[in-house]
Amino acid sequence: MRYDLFMAGFGGQGVLLAGNLLSYGALIEEKNVSFLPAYGVEKRGGAAMCTVVIANGEVGSPVIGRPSFCVYLNQTSFERYGAKVKDGGIAIINSSLVDDSGWQRSDLEVIRIPMNRIAMDLGDARMVNMVAAGAYAARSGAVALESLEQALKSVLPERNHRFIPANMLAIRAGAAAITP
Amino acid sequence: MQQVFKRPVSLKDVQTHFCPGCNHGTIHRLVAEAMDEFGVRERTIGVASVGCSVFLYGYFDVDVVEAPHGRAAAVATGVKRARPDSFVFTYQGDGDLAAIGTAEIIHAANRGEDITVIFVNNTTYGMTGGQMAPTTLVGQKTSTSPYGREHAKDGSPIRMAELLAQLGGVAFSARVAVNTSRNLMDAKKQIKKAFRYQVEGKGFSFIEALSTCPTAWGVTPIQANERVGRELIEYFPLGIFKDTADWNPQSSPTAPVEQPGALPFPEFMHEI
């Protein structure tokens, strides 16, 4: 199997961390991964995006023109990159910040998740990226949630390991938002 | 019978290619004597520059790396960092060190690289045929300043020994000349001191040696020597511009306060 993901938001939303987390999770599952980051001009507040490819065999191109799976965390990235999703693909939208009314993509499966609200209900709006990662993992089946839990230990610096349980709650909440 | 004068063992028994009246041979000898005195020949790595001094390996009986034009201080940095036990010196002319190699010399000095730099200043580009150098005196005619160097157009000659003395990494900076026997004796003393500083791991040591170029200057060897005493020393005063001998890094976290202008050599005064 081969999974690809394009995730975009603004700097500070943790897009790159989420991409890293999913990549590590896949690595733990003995899969091959490429993680290609891109920044806007400013590291914080500018655009942040990444492309992740997970494959059992060779990854091939780390650059994906029309990803089959896209996650949009803010309005700007949705407007700028909404057209990227491959025909018949899947888009996960952070409906707390993105208004997609009037989007003419009837071919897509669009999943709207109020990620900021979920994160805030769990006590920290900064966990939006974890909600997104959980939602992607659950819908795509690219990575198991257990692998993400293990991956958090590698992705987070040691001093932040105390936040792993809270992050796992956010990941599971994101996953739960997928399965009705 | 006691032999009182002999060729330093660090110097090869060959004739130099230098023009009659050129001071390179004399300065080579002083450097070789210092090498002998400290017994560092077997661990010396010389860095040759581009100019008349490029044939360093032809005269010094030591291992030599040839640097691109102006880059001797950077090459020496690489050599010394890779082989900290070696004794590393560069030998550079004024075009090489004070024009195309200005960045390299300033930063090697500022880092306090544990190397010794012999800077030979004859106020011209000798090997390329006597063009204007950064050290050419105002009014001096060269093949590229046929009307004489103009301050307004070409700036003024750079005093490297003074300039480098201001940098924190420099342990020793002095200007010497070999135009008279008295100056030559002084030069010998300062070169040895510069060597000793590296041997003792004190940091960057710098010797600016005023020199002649009778060929480019269009004068006889004797006239060239006279010009050093008459014109060069007037603009480029001899002396020590920095000496950290008495500086105790334990008691003083910062570099010693520099005194303005040249300090006279301790034992000789120069009125030529």
Binding site: - | R43, A74, T77
Partner: protein
Amino acid sequence: MSQRLFVKGNEAVAMAAIEAGCRYYFGYPITPQSDIPEYLSRELPKLNGEFIQAESEVAAINMLLGASATGVRAMTSSSSPGISLKQEGISYMAGSELPGVIVNISRSGPGLGGIDASQADYWQSVKGGGHGGYHIVVLAPASIQEMYDLTMLAFDLADIYRTPVMVLADSVVGQMKEALLPNPRPVTTLPEKGWAVRGRKEGTPQMIVKSLFLGDGELEAHNWKLHGKYDVMREKECRQELFLTDDAELIITAFGSVARIAKTAILMAREAGMKVGLLRPITLFPFPAQAFKEVTGRCKKILDIELNNGQMVEDVRLSVARDAEVFFYGRPPGAGSLPVPEELFEQIIKHY
């Protein structure tokens, strides 16, 4: 088996340098390669090595020259504008037959250009970027594993042939993260560095590292010697990847990051029933001319894809069988010009 790590390409280069025994690094900051000096500034002091942030690219390459002249393994890294500045030193190192590793995580130009991925330094890298008519070995990794493996190989080739070796990549391979198996340094028989300057001990000959040869015929002989080495490299050191070329009716050739994108396009073509393969040069100098000759003995159509306006394609044209057709598709580098697999697939359809 050692554990797979997940690292950036730039970090893989730095890790490989340390594994290869390199303890001396000299560099100047420039995007997008600063992870390399950052990593080595942290790690080399722990290994009694030396890291110097030089005052300029020119100084950095000359510090490399000096360190290398003493026989140690040393490296520098930069990106395109910085590599232009280093060309003086590279020419001197080539002339003085000094080993040394130079990493170019290239960016778009000319001039200040931009920081986006670029393959526009191909000519500068393989044709002798400085004066005097020399070559250096140029290796073009396309994955994080190759960033690691080829950097280690670079040190060996540098020592074996007494030549500067360049690792030429771009920000895709430099900034991307992938799994890395940090293989131990391969066992290689390396020549003694008897030529190095270490101080002339009594009874040993004087060592001189130089590129100046003024005697009648000396420089010509030296140049013949250098070019003799290049011929040996052409014979022994060509490396390439062949992917699905056996039955191919169209062969794509590309190097580095673009070859990765092309590979996915090739798989799209295969799914559509088109017999397309890939010939990816791994050594850009020596150029794997023989491999091109062989594949075009059977497959008569080659499509060269580059992130520039057409540079490697000149070497491809010189290498293919006489009756082969060579097509070119390139995008000059800059923001947004990195081609995607779908775009290359269209090119495949066009030329198939």
